[in-house]
């Protein structure tokens, strides 16, 4: 029971610290991602041991898709926008995906070869 409590406190403290920084500096950067970077630096510096967060982080990560389905259903309120922009969205997103695959694949392959 204690391990759930400790890990929940650590995760919430990082989230809260991230929110505080975002708010204090009025940044557009999402505060939850700030919280993630804070937890990551605590893990890297060894201040927080990774097994002390596992009790809560494991189920959170495992069921993460479930947590964003409600927001996803909110698409229902933007169906008109989706319909009007269907062409634009599909074209921009598929080309973006193909370009990214090619850029990352080819560059990393080249960098790795020149290193050998």
């Amino acid at each position: 029971m204690l391990k759930y409590f400790t890990s929940a406190i650590i995760i919430l403290a990082c989230l809260f610290a991230g929110k505080l920084i975002s708010y204090a500096f009025n940044l557009a950067f999402p505060s939850a991602i700030f919280g993630m970077l804070i937890l990551f630096s605590l893990l890297m510096t060894g201040i927080v041991k990774h097994h002390s967060v596992l009790a809560c982080s494991t189920p959170l990560l495992k069921y993460m898709p479930l947590l964003f389905i409600p927001t996803l259903v909110g698409l229902i309120e933007h169906l008109g926008l989706l319909k009007d922009n269907l062409m634009i969205i599909s074209l921009s997103v598929t080309s973006s995906c193909i370009v990214t695959l090619a850029v990352v694949g080819l560059i990393f392959q080249k960098l790795n070869k020149s290193a050998l």
Partner: protein, 230 residues
């Protein structure tokens, strides 16, 4: 009745998850199917999204702590990739610029408004992060997440053949590209293909997500200013 919304979300998700693991068909994505079925239920029963969202608040509130928890896989992968860190960061940074840049440029050129451009920009990162990013740029979180999942489903099917076609034969490079362009679903497919491809895919999934979160909030206003000045 307030519990009905959250009840159907959970039950449908686990049913569709079970169906997918039985059939192993990538196209039967449980997130996508749950979303579509709930939308159908809401429309046909003439219920409001607002009430459904209220009922699901306990789930939605857990999303931010879950994003913080992503630090754990990042930390675990970090130890594993240390030796190749520099090349990985270079490739993924260029990947972030090409994914956000291409999407923004094409959407803008085709005349999309700000809501749409801000929703297509984070198309290569994992959904919860794409949602928070789109939201902070003035886009629609739900649209961004739906785009991400569709790209992931398509990417899981077509990415690997496409990479081989353009001459990317190195397994590490294939994995890195799949994680950078097709996030979690591409990574899941990469893990199935080969353990080395899978390892590099999960590294780049998480590295790209972090890099996008840092780069996009700076790049987006810059990009829009430049395009608007023409």
């Amino acid at each position: 009745m307030i519990y009905f919304g959250i009840f159907i979300t959970i039950v449908l998700f686990f049913i569709f998850k079970e169906i997918q693991s039985k059939t192993a068909w990538l196209i039967l994505n449980p997130i996508l199917l749950t979303m579509l079925l709930i939308m159908l239920i809401l429309i046909s029963s003439e219920s409001s999204y607002e009430n459904y969202a209220k009922s699901n608040l306990p789930l939605t509130l857990l999303l931010e702590p879950a994003i913080v928890a992503l630090a754990i896989p990042l930390y675990k992968e970090f130890i594993y990739i240390k030796s190749q860190l520099k090349n990985i960061i270079i490739s993924c940074t260029l990947g972030v610029f090409s994914s956000t840049g291409t999407a923004l440029f094409i959407a803008y050129m085709l005349g999309a408004d700000n809501q749409v451009t801000a929703s297509v920009a984070p198309n290569a990162v994992t959904s919860p992060i794409a949602m928070t990013l789109a939201d902070s740029l003035g886009g629609i979180a739900a649209l961004a997440a739906a785009i991400v999942i569709l790209i992931g489903v398509l990417g899981a099917i077509f990415a690997h053949p496409l990479l081989k076609l353009i001459g990317v034969s190195d397994k590490a490079a294939q994995g890195l590209a799949m994680g950078a362009a097709c996030h979690a679903l591409g990574t899941a497919r990469a893990v199935e293909l080969d353990s080395k491809i899978g390892a590099f895919a999960s590294v780049s999934l998480i590295v790209s997500a972090v890099l996008t979160s840092i780069i996009l909030p700076i790049l987006y206003p810059l990009f829009m200013n430049v395009l608007n000045s023409f």
